[in-house]
């Protein structure tokens, strides 16, 4: 999905929230994405860098 599987630094997981809802994110290790259920978006992680831009996020299917 996201091309690379460099894991995200755990220190970032502690402070990141969804930029749109400011709600919590789930870390999906398999797809290397950060999921915002409330926004229905999955933010990719590329080379260990979370891309917290709604334009670049994948829309979740229900």
């Amino acid at each position: 999905m996201s091309g690379s599987k460099v894991p995200i630094d755990p220190r970032l997981l502690e402070i990141l929230v969804c930029p749109l809802t400011k709600g919590p994110l789930e870390y999906d290790r398999t797809n290397n994405e950060l999921i915002s259920r409330k926004a229905g978006l999955a933010y990719p992680i590329r080379d260990g860098i979370p891309i917290m831009l709604p334009d670049e996020a994948r829309k979740l299917e229900d």
Binding site: D9, L12, P19, R46, P50
Partner: protein, 273 residues
């Protein structure tokens, strides 16, 4: 950001910063000079800072923070530019900060917030991301910056085409900055003026430097057609030359503000200016 006029094309800003990530070393000395003056302000305080958020530091600010024992999270609209800041990089839009409230002891922004459409909104989000008694340090180019270039371009374009389109960012004034900090709810807001003079032998070098810093025009209503071939040569030739040198001034507002907290740590500090 409903209701906020979109003056800047954020996609263009991202592209400019992506491109600049490869050539920013060209202008590192100027950015570093500004960053050192900015970061130096925290040395006047007795507060200790552990975790910082650096907005748009272009790989220049994070090392200065690291040298002070501060861990920095580097955020930038461009992933490539964010990665220059080190291990803790995040691609983020400063108008939509993706950070939990009260996460940081310090937020820095060195010459990086002037392409935001909603600067008041950015500052409110910065204040929220700060822990109580956290410090916000920002340098912003203000009115006066690149004035000779702005004038030369407008005059050359008027002469060539009978009109002028905006080619230099509309910078705020010092007073605007003070009002912004106050409106965003910062305690003990301080704004003062600082200047860096940039001397060029070759006028074209000034434009190359702006490009390397990611500072090419991103005004939404900018003229998107290729400008008349004669525009830039005419404008550059009209820049005032003294002793074979063209001087452009980077006029900066240095902003200091504290996230409110009783008792305010900032109030016990030596004046930061």
């Amino acid at each position: 950001m409903a209701g906020v006029p979109e003056i800047f094309d954020r996609l263009a800003v991202r592209r400019h910063r992506d491109r600049a990530a490869r050539m920013v070393e060209r202008v590192a000395p100027v950015l570093r000079e500004a960053a050192e003056r900015l970061v130096g302000r925290m040395d006047d305080t007795t507060r200790r800072f552990a975790l910082a958020l650096d907005l748009g530091g272009r790989g220049i600010v994070a090392p200065l923070l690291a040298a002070r024992g501060i861990t920095a999270v580097s955020a930038d609209l461009s992933t490539r530019m964010a990665a220059r800041g080190g291990a803790l990089a995040v691609a983020a839009d400063e108008e939509w900060l993706p950070f939990r409230a009260a996460s940081f002891d310090l937020v820095t922004a060195n010459l990086s917030l002037h392409w935001a459409n909603d600067l008041p909104g950015v500052l409110v989000q910065v204040r929220t991301a700060l822990k109580p008694d956290g410090l916000f340090l920002a340098s912003l180019p203000v009115l006066g910056t690149l004035d000779p270039l702005r004038t030369a371009l407008a005059e050359a374009e008027a002469a060539l085409s009978g009109g002028a389109s905006p080619r230099v960012s509309p910078f705020p004034t010092l007073r605007d900055c003070a009002g912004l900090l106050q409106r965003a709810g910062f305690a003990l807001p301080v704004v003062d003026l600082d200047r860096i003079s940039l001397a060029y032998r070759e006028p074209l070098a000034a434009l190359h430097d702006l490009r390397a810093a990611g500072e090419t025009n991103a005004i939404r209503v900018r003229e998107r057609r290729t400008p008349p071939r004669a525009l830039f040569p005419a404008a550059l030739a009209a820049l005032p030359v003294e002793e074979r040198t063209i001087t452009l001034e980077l006029t900066m507002a240095m902003l200091t503000g504290w996230a409110p907290s009783p008792p305010q740590h900032g109030s016990g500090r030596a004046a930061a200016h």
